[in-house]
Amino acid sequence: MSERKIGVYVCQCGGNISDYVDVERVRQAVAEDPDVVVARTAMFTCSDATQQEIVDDIKLDDLDGLVVASCSPKLHTFTFRGVARRAGLNPYRYTQVNLREQDSWAHTDDRAGATEKAIRLVRAGIARTRLLEPLDPTVVETVPRALVIGAGIAGLRAAIGLADIGLGVILIEREAEVGGHVRELGTMYPHDRQGQELISELLGEVRRREGIALFTNAELVRKGGTFGNYEVDIRTRGDSNMTRRFEVGSVIVATGFDSYLPEEGEYGYGIPGVLTLPQFKKLVDASEGPLVYGDRPVRSVAYIYCVGSRQGESGPNQYCSRFCCTSAVHTDLELRAKSPRVHQYHLYRDMRTYGRYELLYNDSREKGSAYLKFAPDTPPEVQRRGDGRLEVRVHDQLTSQREVNLEVDLVVLVTGMVPRSNQELIQRLKLPVGRDGFFNEIHPKLRPVETVVDGVAICGSCQFPKTAGESVASGLAAVSWSAAMLKQGRAELDPQVATVDPDLCTFCGACTEACPYGAIGQQDLGGGRQVAVIDPATCKGCGGCAPLCPEHAINVLGYTGREVEAMIESLAAGVA
């Protein structure tokens, strides 16, 4: 027997575990292990009091291993690593055993079985902990510079924010002009300022800052290097095609959205006078007095909501585009200010003028606009009449399903946002794309701009449909995230990564090919002997390479072949 001193803590999770697992029996069973010095149960192991108790035990009994049997490691790995660190124990000599998601919650009908399973799971954790070696985090130096991709309103504001906290900025824009969609907008909500004005102000601020290098007609063509020191190649088109290389510590993606374009015939799209919301908004923005369309005064307008959004079975876009209700209501008010006598009819499914934008909705109703509600299974029908006017037929849920025939001059299809096609960028950065086609953050509330790719954040409407204000807010969140990472000049990375034993490796190349992160290269040891070498800053410790190695030369630190075998033997002990 090895002579380890391991502490084991079995959590009740306030009944979540102890209602279905006899935690006292588990404690007694594992306490028999000669390497277990301390074995306790606790109501909530994650509570401050129990954390302190563990710290005290580690110090008092000079423990060199820690097992916490509670919930999923996704929840509290960092909590208990912190406990170990505070007590002077190497944090990588701790094992989290999942008795909740993988046992008590899964076997609520079988208390005896769940208890037996718990004992095996904890024993496996002890078996692993017995073999764990201390590990130290990989420390990398970080470059105090960020790359911002996309100079729309989110990217411009992020660049200014980064420069103001002392980080260098490379700001690139694919188009010849900065500003994206906002540049095209006239009056915007809620401040009633002009889109063009906002963009030229921001561009002025960008130009005033020496720390920002702005490239238009520019694209990212390659990202290399490792976390904290990415190498990015930026190609600019124009008079001379040129590729420049920069070192950056972080990348902020702010590539924006595309407007949904209805199909021919969708709610009458294609008929003269049937416009999308962006087309109509341009018309209203440009009009200086009463609105005229095709030489005829516009006396009435019908808006049809949720076009290209919340499509259900009928299309690919299941999501709500969020900004369009408020945008349509704001455009209604903008038009009313210019043409007070226009009759405006809004055909909606659900009004979502959230937060203070509700005031715009109130204002629009109080000024006389009519709102009708249709059900998704009976959508409005749009037809062109002989006299050129448009007829919209709708079943109004607010007036006992009356069929209402609206005769109008214009029909506005309130179209939403769709993800922009950016396949090359997605591949170059390995960006995670959600089912809706927008980029995915790690957690919408807790880590709202970070992606699973280290050092790469997303902001603005490439993430999900957002208003300009929300885009700017997320851009600034990405600035804070960059600052937290880059202002220290160094970052600590998880040391639980794959390593190659050069004595065993024959470089067949199987691991290099399998690595999803491109972390495995080739090294010449001299005399023609080639071996695989893994960059610890790029490796994520996923373990995908280890089972492929025909020579068993690869081990993931913290999950070595020996450690995993010991866990399996413990789990299966006595099972025929």
């Binding site: 909705y361 109703r365 009519a370 009708l372 109004d396 607010l398 007036t399 025939n405």
Partner: protein
């Protein structure tokens, strides 16, 4: 069945600037609290006025004149609709257009 709309109906019914049936957000609290249990007044009849469905408005004459003007709905209305004043305006509209009583 569908009706021809009179887009200027609201202007013809409510000649006073305080007439505001379009402010309604269709929550239905008015109908829930009505001590007479009126089904269509105020919310749905107001919607007919805003949409210009004159025939539908005329069909609800009895409800328009049954209302007690007790204001229970109005004090409960979260959208600030001047319900009783709007009902009075509707009664005037019936006086003028149905009973041909000129006044005001």
């Amino acid at each position: 069945m569908s009706a021809t709309l009179q887009p200027d109906l609201a202007e013809r019914v409510g000649m006073d600037p305080s007439f505001n049936p379009s402010a309604c957000m269709n929550c239905g609290i008015c109908t829930a609290v009505c001590p007479l249990g009126l089904r269509h007044l105020p919310r749905e009849v107001f919607a007919y006025v805003v949409l210009g469905m004159e025939g539908e408005v005329l069909q609800h004459q009895e409800e328009v004149f049954s209302c007690l003007l007790c204001k229970l709905c109005e004090v409960s209305c979260p959208a600030g609709v001047h319900i009783t004043e709007n009902v009075r305006a509707l009664r005037h509209y019936f006086d003028r257009n149905v009973f041909h009583i000129e006044g005001r």
